[in-house]
Amino acid sequence: VKSELPRLSPTERLILDLLAGDEMFGLQLVGASRGALKRGTVYVTLGRMQEKGYVESWTEHQAPGAIGLPRRLYRPTAYGLRVLEAWAAAARTMKRRPRLQHA
């Protein structure tokens, strides 16, 4: 059965869940996920989510003379939050499915 829900993998759901509270850096997401997200793949997933329009990102403002590359902050888009909400609602509906009664 096909649904009208956009594609959302479990990792993407977790990231949207974590970002729903506040904007975060990639490494902060890894820390907040308590081991569920890996340092090597979280940025690839975030890049893919940005392509899909689930999250948006921007680089932090660096003070003059700052060392290193500017870090990138992520936050969910309104569309991403709607998709997350729709998936949560779908999951709740599936849980409430009535059991078959045997005669």
Partner: protein, 308 residues
């Protein structure tokens, strides 16, 4: 000196810029920030180890993702061109069958008549072949795009397909306007041994203008660009469902072909359009339809819930 500068150069050399900016630089920036915050040899060593491991993992995953996309792209493009050639070949044969049939050799005719008919048949086929091939090729590329590609085509592939269409259109123009008419006429003279008045298909573009066949003249300019116009239309339809895009492209090709074969002459004969307008109208309509198709929104990407 913060670590990661050499890694940044490596990633810049092997990955496209947008992926490097979005994925690798984000990872390296967090890595460098963590390293700057770290204190003590053990902590720094752990940060370095994790940072380097994360970099190579991110680089590998990105490279695999790009490789998969390019393989996919190559497959789609290959399918597009194979389908184009197949459609072109089948359409050419189908369109030449009526030409072949009207020159069927009478079985009880004398050997001289039979020889004449045999030669006439090849003259007729050759007479129709360039026109038929150009028509088939114009529709073939569009149908190839519609059947072989999908929403996954990248900007680079779209550019490649359009370049092929433009090159083919230009070649069609030169072939249809000069090379084919001259070749057909000389073949007829050689095969039948007669020097009669030239048929329209045997006239070069300049001779058509001299003979006041203005619709034929403008069609020689406009028709080769059908390949480009229909390919543009097929590309704009390629993001749609397979059935929808095939139906749209078949309708566009059918409409175009009908107009060129019958509608244009009829409209010019009635005085509805000038020869120039009648010749260029289908190209303009098809390109406008392609733009209009892009403006019609698509349904969002959907998938099976069970796969989530």
């Amino acid at each position: 000196m913060v670590p990661g500068q050499a890694l940044h150069r490596i990633a810049s050399a092997v990955l496209p810029r947008d992926i490097c900016d979005r994925v690798i630089d984000s990872q390296l920036a967090d890595f460098q920030h963590e390293w700057l915050l770290s204190d003590g040899i053990a902590w720094r060593a752990r940060v370095l180890l994790r940072g380097y491991a994360a970099f190579w993992a991110a680089l590998m995953v990105s490279l695999i993702a790009i490789g998969a996309t390019e393989r996919d792209e190559r497959k789609i493009l290959l399918r597009t061109f194979v389908m184009s050639i197949a459609v072109c070949g089948i359409a050419t044969v189908l369109m030449l069958i009526p030409v072949w049939r009207i020159t069927l050799i009478p079985s009880q005719a004398s050997p001289i008549i039979q020889t004449m008919f045999r030669r006439l048949r090849w003259v007729m086929v050759l007479n129709w072949l360039p026109d038929t091939f150009l028509t088939a090729a114009a529709g073939g590329l569009a149908l190839g795009i519609a059947s072989g590609s999908g929403p996954r085509l990248s900007t680079r592939s779209i550019r490649n397909v359009l370049t092929v269409a433009v090159v083919f259109s230009a070649l069609s123009f030169f072939t249809g306007s000069w090379i084919a008419p001259v070749a057909i006429y000389h073949f007829r003279v050689a095969a039948l041994g007669m020097r009669m008045a030239k048929w329209p298909a045997e006239m070069t573009i300049g001779e058509l203008a001299q003979s006041q066949n203005m619709l034929g003249y403008h069609l020689r300019w406009a028709f080769p660009w059908a390949t480009f116009a229909l390919a543009t239309f097929a590309l704009s339809a390629s993001a749609r469902a397979r059935g929808a895009r095939l139906a749209l492209v078949i309708a566009a090709c059918g409409g175009y072909y009908y107009w060129v074969r019958a509608g244009a002459a009829d409209a010019v004969g009635r005085g509805t359009f000038s020869a120039f307008t009648a010749a260029w109208l289908p190209n303009v309509v098809v390109v406008i339809a392609a733009c209009a198709l892009l403006a019609v929104p698509l349904k969002p990407d959907t998938t099976d819930m069970a796969r989530g």
